[in-house]
């Protein structure tokens, strides 16, 4: 195993799509900055793509000391072979002690190839990163489908981890921050065996980015009742989410699912209607700023994570809530006009 004693520094993979950096990369820079400062080392970022130079400075603004840019038409879309090859070369050259990637599907397809080529350890889907007293990375991740959390350490360097989107905090963008942008000559294969014929945006709801999420669970009695949630979501300028059983039953599409095997959300307000609060569901929403739970069972575990607990029937409370919101807004509008 390549236990490189002189490995030093923190490297972050800056994932981009259509030339725009994915927000998870800014979160990684936030965490990476914290780790690098505590270790007294540099924070670097690797940006691969085509026509992405202008994004390099953004990475500096969010915390990078050095940005390595690999620009080539062969890198414009994600080909795991091309991407891995260039990252492996960069890591071999710069020898970071820690290498972080977003636990997006793209990141989780890419990182293992890099780790295998470097013969180093990779921890999947981390939700927390820390340092032990010797400066080794302590990686925390869920396993057994979200039923347990595991703390993982890596003997080799770099210590690689993919990190879940929406769990780390990005630093505030600081356009006065200075850093170095280093343009690297990409090494590309003319044929990797992979040909991307088409790439189209999926569309649908954007749960992960929503400010307000109104979710329903098995407390709903029929698929038509999702309209109740929609109405409340509309009143709040939010989107509708759901627990998994509604998705499995085909009542709502999978892109609405919150939880371990769905989306992780971190909205300002999360309203859980008729959701019991299984570990898998809590996994995807417990970090929301404010959680309001409506459930007729006072002992439902969802109340353990809620800021406001409403014991009651959603069929009664939700329509009343919509009414009250409308009333209050009407009063407010009237006040403002006065």
């Amino acid at each position: 195993m390549n236990n490189v004693p002189d490995a030093e520094g923190v490297l972050v993979f800056a994932e981009q799509n259509n030339g725009l950096v994915h927000p998870v990369s800014f979160e990684l820079l936030g965490k990476g900055r914290d780790l690098a400062d505590r270790l007294g080392v540099k924070l670097s970022a690797a940006l691969l793509g085509h026509g992405v130079h202008k994004e390099a400075l953004e990475l500096v603004y969010y915390g990078a000391d050095v940005v390595y840019v690999f620009d080539s038409p062969f890198l414009s879309m994600f080909d795991p072979v091309q991407y891995a090859k260039n990252l492996v070369r960069l890591v071999t050259e710069t020898r970071p002690a820690i290498f972080l990637l977003g636990a997006t599907r793209l990141g989780r397809s890419l990182a293992p190839r890099v780790a295998a080529a470097l013969r180093t350890g990779l921890t999947a889907d981390c939700v927390d990163l820390d340092l032990d007293e010797n400066g080794n990375l302590v990686q925390v991740r869920p396993a057994f489908s979200g039923n347990i959390m595991a703390q993982i350490k890596t003997k080799t360097r770099p210590q690689m981890a993919t990190v879940r989107y929406k769990v780390m905090k990005a630093n505030a963008r600081d356009p006065r921050r200075k850093g170095k942008v280093i343009v690297k000559e990409p090494e590309v294969l003319s044929d990797t065996g992979i040909q991307i014929l088409e790439k189209t945006a999926v569309g649908g709801v954007n749960l992960a980015e929503a400010e307000v999420v109104v979710s329903g669970g098995r407390g709903l009695k029929s698929p038509g009742d999702i309209a109740l949630l929609k109405e409340l979501a509309k009143e709040l300028g939010g989107v509708v989410g759901s627990s998994r059983p509604l998705v499995d039953a085909g009542w709502i599409s999978r892109d609405h699912q919150v939880g371990f095997s769905g989306h992780t959300v971190k909205p300002r307000v999360y309203v859980a209607c008729g959701i019991s609060g299984s570990p898998q569901h809590l996994f995807g929403m417990r970090d929301s700023d404010v959680i309001i739970a409506i459930n007729k069972d006072a002992s439902a575990p969802i109340f353990n994570v809620a800021d406001y607990c409403v014991v009651g029937d959603i069929y009664e409370i939700v329509p009343l809530l919509v009414q009250e919101l409308r009333k209050l807004k009407a009063v407010k509008n009237l006040d403002e006009r006065k």
Binding site: F78, P112, M149, I152, I194, I291, L320
Partner: protein
């Protein structure tokens, strides 16, 4: 056999997560509480292989690394359309992380000889890393496409798949040899017939240990010794309760109170 593909399906035996009980105090699962099953995502991998075989012919080999007991998972794979099964079992394989697991699996695939396509599940429900597929591909020096939702086209030379990565659908053509990992959306796994079940019960399962794998000069890459990551400790995820405020009153009063809170939080259109 004349035409057709040589397909390898990687399957892992896991505890039945729907039935397994967790000792949240100790942060451990009680292994005696649930039987071992094939990783559910690997059923989709087996089904994909079976459908390809029906379409253009071929031979499907199921490979699993695990203890003797994992033969049950391989028998299940045989009942679901695999033609041959190989178990990689050796005390020195134990304690493997994804790197050592992938290395061991890649050695076995090499030993099996020329192949066209390797199919893996998207991830397992226990270790849950989704890393083994792409790591095996890297060790074998072949391309991969992860998170395949649909196989659009296949010939004896290449496969075209749809895969969703985050916000985008990709249509990707991959030349053989290559590896795919399939999601739950890829197909609906068929149930094995009673006849197939009975047949698989008597089937021969090849077992390979460390000495059987070709790249044996590299002992340090297997099992615990070859695993750079280690689980330092485990704990229950739901530690730390919030002290939530209980909203009291009639339903009307509750609704009004929540409405006020929501407006104060600025959540309104």
């Amino acid at each position: 056999m004349s035409k057709g593909l040589k397909i390898v399906v990687l399957v892992k035996q896991v505890p039945d997560i729907e039935k397994v009980r967790f000792d949240y105090e100790k942060g451990r699962l009680d292994r005696s509480s649930a039987e071992a099953v094939i990783n559910p995502f690997d059923l989709n991998a087996l089904e994909a292989a079976a459908q390809i075989k029906e379409k253009i012919g071929g031979v499907v080999t199921a490979v699993s690394m695990g203890p003797e007991q994992a033969k049950d998972a391989l028998r299940d794979a045989l009942a679901r359309g695999a033609d041959e099964a190989v178990l990689l079992s050796d005390l020195r394989f134990a304690g493997a992380d994804t790197l050592a697991t992938s290395y061991t699996l890649s050695c076995a695939v090499r030993k099996l000889g020329a192949f066209d396509l390797i199919i893996c599940g998207e991830k397992t429900i226990d270790g849950d890393t989704a890393q083994v597929g792409p790591e095996v591909a890297e060790f074998l020096g072949i391309p991969h496409v992860a998170y395949v939702d649909e196989i659009l086209d296949i010939s004896i030379a290449e496969i075209t798949v749809k895969s969703r990565l985050d916000g985008d659908n990709y249509v990707v053509k991959m030349r053989f040899p290559g590896l795919i990992t399939v999601t739950k959306d890829a197909n609906v796994p068929r149930l094995p017939t009673l006849k197939d079940k009975l047949r698989s019960r008597k089937a021969e399962i090849t077992v390979w240990g460390m000495k059987d794998l070709a790249c044996l000069d590299e002992k340090q890459f297997f099992g615990l010794q070859g695993s750079p990551t280690g689980v330092a400790k485990v704990f229950a995820p739901t530690s730390g309760k919030k002290k939530g405020q209980i909203v009291m009153g009639t339903p009307e009063e509750k609704a009004r109170r929540i409405a006020e809170i929501l407006l104060k939080l600025g959540a309104s259109q």
